[in-house]
């Protein structure tokens, strides 16, 4: 611009007024906005007469896009007319921000966040300087005082994006030294330093390196040192960190404050209970809000015990010198039982619907022995029911309640009578939608809850407003506005008018993806739902972000609109991804309590006994294999009853189909889960999962495995060992259909769950044992009343071995047979102990048919966390399908083909990962069988003693999750 010749100052361009424009040029040649769009914005075309006002308008229009930091227009008179040149100095917009060279802490996410360089926003003068200062501050907080920072900016004129890379030379991390303590310290300095945790193993290994997390944790621990002694308002604050010679010295101000004591008057409460109810101890702070919360907790505590009229007040006053006493004055009042809640006057809603919205609950055993009641709760319920009516057009609804107390014997029984006067229902008499363009009108109308004849309410209007605005926002109208008006018409009718102001529509200019290093860009591109020219839809942008996260290969996916403040018809959409670490390791230790026992030699306890098995887990996985989003993993699990190693290759979203996933698995399993034998399994499998619908899934699988049984571990008749101990190769093709219509898989209260699995093992699949297997399960869940659930499940299995021509029935290898019994199948048996047994040793042999039916009545017991279950399990594993019977009596000790019944009781404790459960079952017809007393040698030589044994009629099971 400095090269431009000086024009006539007093009337720039005036001499050109009306002269023909021969050409319009824009410099520089490379622009983030296409020239056609620049021409459109400028509005000056070759052939037009020159006008200073038009040039002024052009500058304003171009500047409004916020694409340009400066604009100057020059005119060059040529033989054909004026050549107008728009010299455009571009603005730059923040693209990828990366910080390199720092080995955390701070983490990369913290480093990026502290720069405050927002993706897509304009890169302003001073932004980089501020970001560099912020980064240096964060590094100092983390002990990196000598860090050097250098920002590097790479600008792309074709997109306007500026990628910013901060290169950091972090230097050496400083270590703590003894802090300087000031103020009312009152505790020994040594004790506070010890509490801070800034020294390694006391003083033995010197001071730790300083990080922000350690500083904050240290201060917090010092504060707790006071608070744990009752100094709840103690203040421990950091004044500064002096740095010298690779050492930082924290300066800390301490105010001990008063020692707090909490007590109750009028009701004897233990200190433990007070600590539970009054949150000042948990929050380690004292303020009016916490004291009020304590008051509410006490009222609720008393209410649960029937003291519906309880009154609680509190004082916070000085006691002895340096002491502050919080006293809760409690007047518990009489003890009531809420006998009934009666609702009358309701016509539009039934009682069940109304009761669902109420918190006031009459007494019921065992969950709410006194019922739930308070005046505030009753008023809340009245408001909730009135709101329900109003949202359905009953604008004049009136809900009133009366309570009555009746003395019955020595107890006071309270009743609630709620009377509802519904009043007339107001409906929409006339409806009009204004302002929607013809192309959007039908879409909008289809979304609306209100239309002519519908019950009218402001809630429904609010719901329509949200639906309309969401629809517009998701179709590229970010400035859409909504107004409405309801005018009273004749009797109980309103004329409703919605007025929409659509505003400008934004389109996608292009989608820019930043941050890909190892990932195939095509993999990402295929998951982005927005394409150039599409309406700029927020929902599609979020969905694209979600789909990228679903790949499981990105630690972070950030989405933004470039140049959000600029007035442009088309916008760049920027997606910045941060690839997750390639390798991840996982390890763990655990234990299971299950039926374990015996040894290779021992034939004791064929029906099993409770045992304990420690377990170690170790795994490694490599994500984003070949940049395709695939994962390769290896897992090992070693316990006293199982050694399992697995190699997996997972291809989620196979062939870019959201609903397909492909998995290859290879595993080695050395298992003693069935007590009859130890099996060794080598298996490879390929599985294609297809999600057919939201609730239905199909799995197609091919597996080939070689299963061998350690002959010396087989606890069966010696003459059967040579046949059953043969290693066998099984090639099996199978398909599973899963249909899940449960409301909550962890804690189902309604719906159903079905699975059908069909498997065929045959020579064409490289199997040297041929059989078909069909296994099905159907579970249903039914709500009984408000809180109880009746759940039932039926599982059936059928297994048939055959020769290659399918003519002669053959035996099925031992490990492929059905084994059942245990916490998740039939609770009358220990794990895998149902069905046929060896007639000599009594160990289970598995069967070729299975039928198990379970029924549970699930009900709440104490509050919302503890529930109970009454259950009945019936069924067994049978030798053959033809031997499946409902007969409940065992004919003799060699008869296992009968139905074992178990009734029992269980307790469920609700946790975030599902209920923890304990079930105790009693089986009156548990199986009796011949067991063997002796050693393996005695068995081989026909010695030893056969004794009649029986599966314990009482079984207990402890596990996680509902049974089904």
């Amino acid at each position: 611009m400095a090269a431009l010749r000086v024009g006539a100052e007093q009337a720039e361009g005036a001499s050109h007024e009306g002269a023909p424009v021969a050409a319009v040029r824009f410099l520089p040649e490379v622009q983030a906005v296409p020239f056609s769009e620049l021409e459109e914005l400028a509005g000056i075309r070759p052939g037009d007469g020159y006008s200073a006002a038009a040039v002024r308008r052009a500058i304003a229009a171009l500047y409004r896009t916020n694409r340009f930091a400066d604009i100057a227009v020059s005119a060059d008179r040529t033989g054909n007319g004026l050549v107008l040149t728009f010299q455009l100095e571009p603005n730059w917009f923040i693209g990828r921000v990366s910080v390199e060279g720092v080995s955390g802490p701070p983490s990369e996410g913290q480093l990026q966040a502290v720069t405050k360089l927002g993706l897509g926003e304009e890169l302003r003068d001073g932004s980089l300087l501020q970001a560099t200062e912020n980064l240096a501050g964060l590094l100092r907080l983390n002990g990196l005082h000598d860090a050097r920072l250098r920002p590097e900016v790479t600008r792309n004129p074709e997109t306007g994006a500026a990628a910013i890379r901060f290169v950091v030379e972090p230097g050496k991390r400083a270590r703590f030294t003894a802090p300087r303590l000031a103020g009312n310290v009152a505790r020994p300095t040594e004790a506070l330093i010890r509490a801070s945790g800034w020294q390694r193993l006391g003083r033995v290994f010197g001071w730790r390196t300083a990080t922000d997390a350690r500083v904050q944790a240290g201060l917090d621990r010092m504060r707790r040192a006071y608070q744990n002694r009752g100094y709840l308002t103690a203040r421990v604050s950091l004044d500064g960190m002096a740095y010298a010679d690779q050492r930082v010295t924290p300066s800390i101000s301490i105010t001990e404050g008063s020692r707090y004591t909490v007590r109750s008057q009028g009701l004897k409460l233990s200190q433990r209970r007070l600590r539970e109810l009054i949150p000042v101890f948990e929050e380690r702070s004292v303020d009016r809000d916490l004291l009020l919360e304590g008051q509410r907790n006490l009222l609720s505590y008393l209410g649960e015990r029937g003291h519906f009229d309880a009154d609680v007040g509190f004082t916070n006053e000085p006691g002895d010198p340096g002491e502050q006493v919080i006293t809760y004055e409690v007047a518990p009042g009489p003890e009531y039982t809420l006998a009934s809640v009666a609702i009358t006057g309701n016509r539009y809603f039934d009682l069940a619907t109304l009761h669902e919205r109420m918190e006031v609950t009459p007494a019921s055993f065992p969950r709410f022995r006194k019922g739930i009641f308070s005046r505030q709760l009753l008023e809340r319920d009245e408001r909730a029911i009135a709101a329900l009516y109003r949202s359905n057009g009953f604008l004049k609804v009136d809900v009133q309640s009366q309570t009555e107390v009746v003395k019955k014997g020595r107890s006071l029984r309270q009743t609630v009578a709620m009377r509802i006067d519904e009043g007339p229902q107001t409906r929409v008499g006339a409806f009009e939608l204004l302002g929607a363009s013809p192309e959007n009108r039908e879409t909008i109308l289809a979304l609306l809850r209100l239309s002519e004849g519908q019950p009218y309410s402001e809630d429904a209007v609010a719901s329509d407003r949200d639906a309309i605005l969401n629809s517009y926002f998701n179709n590229g109208y970010p400035d859409a506005r909504f107004d409405w008006e309801a005018k009273a018409m004749a009797e109980d009718r309103v004329a409703l008018t919605y007025t929409v102001t659509e505003g400008r529509r934004l389109l996608v200019r292009a989608v820019l993806v930043e941050g890909l290093v190892r990932t195939d860009p095509e993999l990402v591109r295929r998951r982005i739902l927005l394409k150039p020219g599409d309406p700029l839809s927020q929902s599609k942008l979020l969905e694209s972000q979600r789909r990228l996260y679903d790949l499981g290969i990105f630690a972070r996916v950030e989405a933004a609109i470039q140049n959000p403040d600029g007035v442009e018809d088309s916008k760049y959409v920027v997606l910045q991804v941060e690839e997750a670490r390639k390798w991840s390791l996982n390890s763990g230790v655990g234990a299971e309590i299950t039926q374990i026992g015996g040894s290779f030699q021992s034939f004791d306890a064929p029906a099993g006994g409770a045992g304990f098995s420690p377990r170690v887990l170790l795994g490694v996985s490599r994500s984003n294999f070949l940049g395709q989003g695939h994962t390769v993993g290896a897992q090992t699990r070693v316990s006293t009853i199982q050694q399992l190693s697995t190699l997996t290759y997972q291809a989620p979203q196979f062939r870019d189909r959201q609903n397909l996933n492909l998995t290859f698995t290879a595993l080695f399993d050395n298992s003693r889960s069935v007590r009859t034998f130890n099996s060794r399994r080598l298996e490879t499998s390929a599985q294609l999962g297809q999600r057919v619908s939201r609730a239905s899934t199909l799995l197609y699988r091919y597996s080939i495995r070689r299963v061998s049984i350690e002959a010396q571990t087989l606890k069966i008749q010696p003459q059967l060992i040579p046949r059953l101990a043969q290693p066998v190769r099984i090639g099996v093709a199978s398909a599973t259909f899963i249909q899940d219509h449960r409301d909550n898989p962890l804690e189902s209260t309604k719906g159903f769950y079905n699975t059908v699995d069909f498997a065929l093992a045959a020579a064409p699949f490289a199997s040297n044992s041929d059989f078909v297997r069909l296994l099905g399960r159907n579970s249903t869940y039914h709500r009984l009343g408000r809180d109880m659930v009746l759940a039932r499940t039926t599982s059936m299995g059928y297994l048939r071995g055959f020769d290659t021509r399918g003519l002669i029935e053959r035996d099925v290898p031992l490990p492929e047979r059905f084994f059942a019994g245990g916490a998740n199948t039939h609770r009358g048996f220990p794990e895998n102990q149902a069905g046929p047994r060896d007639l000599l040793t009594g160990f289970p042999l598995g069967g070729k048919a299975m039928f198990v039916n379970g029924t549970e009545l699930r009900f709440p017991m104490v509050g919302h966390s503890v529930g109970g279950v009454l259950f009945h399990d019936a069924g067994n594993v049978y030798q053959e399908l033809s031997k499946l019977t409902l007969r409940a009596r065992q004919r003799d000790v060699r008869d296992f083909d009968y139905m074992v019944h178990t009734v029992g009781f269980g307790i469920r404790y609700r946790t975030p990962v599902g209920p923890v459960r304990l079930d105790v079952g009693f089986s009156p017809n548990s199986a009796r069988f011949f067991g063997f007393k002796g050693t393996r040698e005695q068995l081989l030589f026909g010695q030893g003693v056969q004794t009649v044994q029986r599966i314990n009629r009482f079984q207990f099971h402890f596990s996680l999750g509902q049974t089904f």
Partner: protein, 219 residues
């Protein structure tokens, strides 16, 4: 590469011959005041004030300030429901200029416009902006200004009388005689103070950038 070098050479050659016709002088967010607007404001203001136009740095900064204030007010008016000034009011204001400055003679008016290098439409536009600004001030600030009798009395004692005595030898008029005039003066003062405060706050909240070369008259 060769093509780009060629284009750059052509552009440089064209730029060397080209005359700068307009450029951004001030930006307020994404809206702009161009240099030509700034210079036109100087010319029209000079015309209305009956002076010669001064295009020096100080004059440019003054014009810039006026235009920034106008832009802030127009922005605020765009957000609220303020009535626009109608054409008849603008014509009446132009008529007043014609009468007061040029004795109602169109020819003298046109001559003066030619001398200042401005058009009648530009004068109309500036008058419209000034009237709009006055209306905005009236609607936005005046209703909230309250002046009490005590404040008028205090102003009479502490400001009016001392100043009267500095300039006049006669006794000052009674308070009751000038109370209404003093009340109006106080209202005007406070309206101006409120406007200044509001403009200062608005300037802090907006991203206002001045292109210094324009104000220094550099190319």
């Amino acid at each position: 590469m060769r093509t780009w070098t060629g284009v750059a050479c052509l552009a440089a050659a064209a730029a060397a011959r080209a005359e700068l016709v307009d450029r951004v002088a001030v930006s307020i967010g994404t809206s702009v005041i161009t240099e030509s607007e700034l210079l036109e404001n100087i010319r029209v203001t000079a015309f209305l004030n009956g002076r010669r136009a001064d295009f020096g740095e100080e004059s440019r900064r003054g014009a810039g300030d006026r235009l920034i204030d106008q832009a802030i007010i127009e922005r605020e008016m765009g957000l609220g429901q303020y009535p626009a000034v109608d054409a008849a009011q603008v014509e009446a204001a132009l008529g007043a200029v014609r009468t007061q400055r040029f004795g109602g003679a169109d020819e003298r008016l046109r001559e003066a416009l030619r001398e200042h290098g401005v058009t009648e439409d530009a004068v109309r536009a500036l008058l419209a902006r000034q009237l709009t600004m006055l209306r905005f001030i009236d609607l936005r600030f005046r209703p909230s200004i309250q002046v009490t009798a005590d404040e008028v009395s205090a102003y009479y004692r502490e400001e009016f009388v001392p100043r009267w005595r500095e300039r006049q030898t006669q006794l000052p008029p009674d308070e009751a005689e000038v109370a209404e005039t003093l009340r109006r003066t106080l209202v005007e003062q406070r309206v101006n103070q409120a406007l200044d405060r509001w403009l200062s706050q608005s300037r802090l909240q907006l991203d206002i950038r001045l292109r210094e070369p324009v104000f220094r008259g550099r190319r």
